[in-house]
Structures are given as structure tokens and as C-alpha cells.
Amino acid sequence: MSLDYVKFSGGFEKFMPKEYRDMVEHGPFGKKISVSQMGSFKEILEEHPMCAGCAMTLFIRLAIIAFPNPEDTITVGTAGCGRLAISQAAIPFVYGNYGDQNGVASGLSRGLRLRFGDKPKDVVVMAGDGGTADIGFQQVLHSWFRKERFTTIMLDNEVYGNTGGQESGMTNRGAVLKMAPLGKKFEKMDMLQMAKVAGCAYVATVVPNNPRRVESVIKKAVLIAREVGSTYIQAYTSCNIEYAIPTDKVMEDAKTVENDRYQFTEYVSDEAKQYLTERYGYKDYLPKAAAPAAAIPNKA
């Protein structure tokens, strides 16, 4: 895990595929890259088998670009659509058993700190709503209560997408799906509130129709997780197959859902605010200048 792992071994450069050579020479490793430069550099994410027009893929693409130090990052995932794209990125990817991704990430994060000391090595969990809120719920919550220092990102498509459309805890009440024909009878789980109760230092919701916001949120979450504690991002990443969204309307749907139930929210603990300000120069959390006092009329 360092810049060395993407360099060519001596004498092998000419045998490497074009995509790999482009990534080493023109990729984001060791550089400051932003979403505004997309289309002008070789991305870490390669071709993948995700469905055409998938919003989850777009979010994963943006998230990977937003990693502050991709050469020092490990992603952890579990069963679900997302792993089909995450595993096609030139970043080490650990594929846990279903639901144990936050347990794996806890051990990994601690091990990396023992091995590398203060040198930042970022661990980012990206798993679906089923892996995070249902099957992995116990390990997710306990990692938060233990204040494990890594980022958890829920790719919330509100359904078990690649097993045929079963309802998940994150499906909306009343939603009718192929494998939930009577409609879901319970409310969508409030994972945001649970993350706050469990002590996460940073909690945010985001929708991929605002790439700059996705970039900003991911960067903050990963940086805070380096030293302060657990961070959680919940991203709406629609399943256009199970919800029958025409592919050219995926962003329109994202906008509708953003206005309906996925407005941007961001919680930053006081400790995290102080850390971002002092360590990384964020100005958003500086104390606001006091308003000038109202003029006191002179007594005649």
C-alpha cells in the first residue's frame, strides 16, 4: 500500500496493457485530483459488469475519485451489486462474507495502524443497504459503538437488487417489488439516527446528482476517520432494473428522491470540526464572527 505498488517492475513496462500504463503514468495516484478534471485523466476504476445507467456505479466512480489518498486506501465490501464495480478498481479490495464487512474493516484498520503507525492508511467500507442495515447490521453498529476509525458507505438502492428484488430494511413502506408483491409493511430504517446515537463523528446523506457534493462528503468522511472515529455516508443509488427506471431518467429519479426523502444532511461532531479545521484547513467550521452590536443611542 503505497505509490510503489502501482509502479512498473523493471523491464515489464512494455508488456503491460495500455490501460495499466495509462493508469500508472496519468492516473490519480500521488496527485490531487477533483471531479472537475474528470475526462482528462485515467481513472482508477476500469470497465465493469454493472448495468447500463446504474446510479450506484456513478456514485462508486465519484467516490473513488474523491479518496484523498487512493494509493493508501483499501476498500471492503460484501455481496451485492456494488462489489462488481469496486473490485474493478486498482485499489486493494477485500470481499468479506455477507454482512461481516465492518468486522473485517475493524481488524484491517487496527492492523494497518500497528503496521504503519501514524502514516494514514484509509479503510473504506462500501456495501449495499442489505449488507449494511440487514445482514451486516450487528457488526456495523458495534463497529460504530467501538468508534472504529474507518468510513462506512451505504449504497442504498432500497432493494436486494441482484437477487431478484426482495425488500430490505431500507425499502420504503408500501413499496411493491417483484419479491415483495404485497408491499413492504414497515418503515424505512433510520440508519442516520442510529449512526448518531452510536457515536459516529460524521454522518451524511448524499445523492449522486451532485458530483461536487459527493466528492466533498467522501473526502471529509475519510479524513475524519483517520483520527477521530467512525464516519457514515448514506447514498441513494437507485436500482433502475428493480424499480423500472428508464436509464435516461436515472438522474431525474435521483432529483425526485432527493427532494422527497434524501435531502442533503450532514452531521459533524465538534471534535471532527476542530480536527478538520486545524489539521486540514477547512474554513467551514470556524466560529462565525459575532454580529456587530447594535449602536447604543447616546443619552441626551
Partner: protein
């Protein structure tokens, strides 16, 4: 045959909003080139499609029409494109890319 996105250079190079490059779910599929626009006398560079990676979702069409209001992207059958960019013929430079256009049917067929 199948549909792929195609960008009108004249429109794109006069606006250069680059929004489509940020919304494609596929990496390195909508690329940006300074020279493809400015070499033709337009004000800016232009976005273009690496057609061998395009899955034909048309999400970029919605972004260009509805968000950017430029109407520069249309879906077109790949065999109706006389010239297009493909990944093997795209070169990366410091802050841009350069594509040598070719007949995609011949290149992908090879």
C-alpha cells in the same frame, strides 16, 4: 447493432460545461480534449465518447439536454458513425486527452 452516445463538437466546444464527463456511470468513457475543439477554431475543447466503453444508457443525453440545456448529445447506431474515438486510440496528456478518430466498426472488430 447498438446505440452509443455521440457529441456534437460544434455545440459542445462553444459551451464546454463538462457536465457529461461527471455523470457517466462508466469510467473514462466520456473524455475531454482541448485540441479537438480548439484545433477546429472553436472557443473551447470538447467532450467526446470512447464508443467501445459506452453502454448506451443515454444518461448523458438527459444531463446535456435538461441540466446543461445544450442538446449536444444524441444516441446513434454505432455502425452509423464514420469516425469515433476508441480507448486504444486515446492518449493522455498533462491536463487533457488526445484521440485519433477511426472507424469504430473496424477497430472494435479487430
Amino acid at each position: 447493432m447498438y446505440l452509443v452516445a455521440n457529441i456534437d463538437v460544434e455545440i459542445c466546444a462553444s459551451k464546454s460545461c463538462k457536465l457529461c464527463t461527471q455523470y457517466c456511470p462508466e469510467a473514462n468513457t466520456i473524455q475531454y480534449s482541448e485540441t479537438m475543439g480548439t484545433d477546429k477554431g472553436y472557443k473551447y475543447g470538447t467532450a467526446y465518447i470512447a464508443v467501445d466503453r459506452c453502454k448506451g444508457c443515454a444518461l448523458c443525453v438527459w444531463v446535456c439536454d435538461t441540466m446543461a440545456k445544450n442538446n449536444a448529445i444524441k444516441m446513434i447506431m454505432i455502425d452509423q458513425l464514420p469516425l469515433a474515438a476508441v480507448t486504444d486510440n486515446i492518449r493522455y496528456e498533462e491536463k487533457t486527452t488526445v484521440a485519433v478518430l477511426s472507424n469504430p466498426m473496424i477497430v472494435i472488430g479487430n
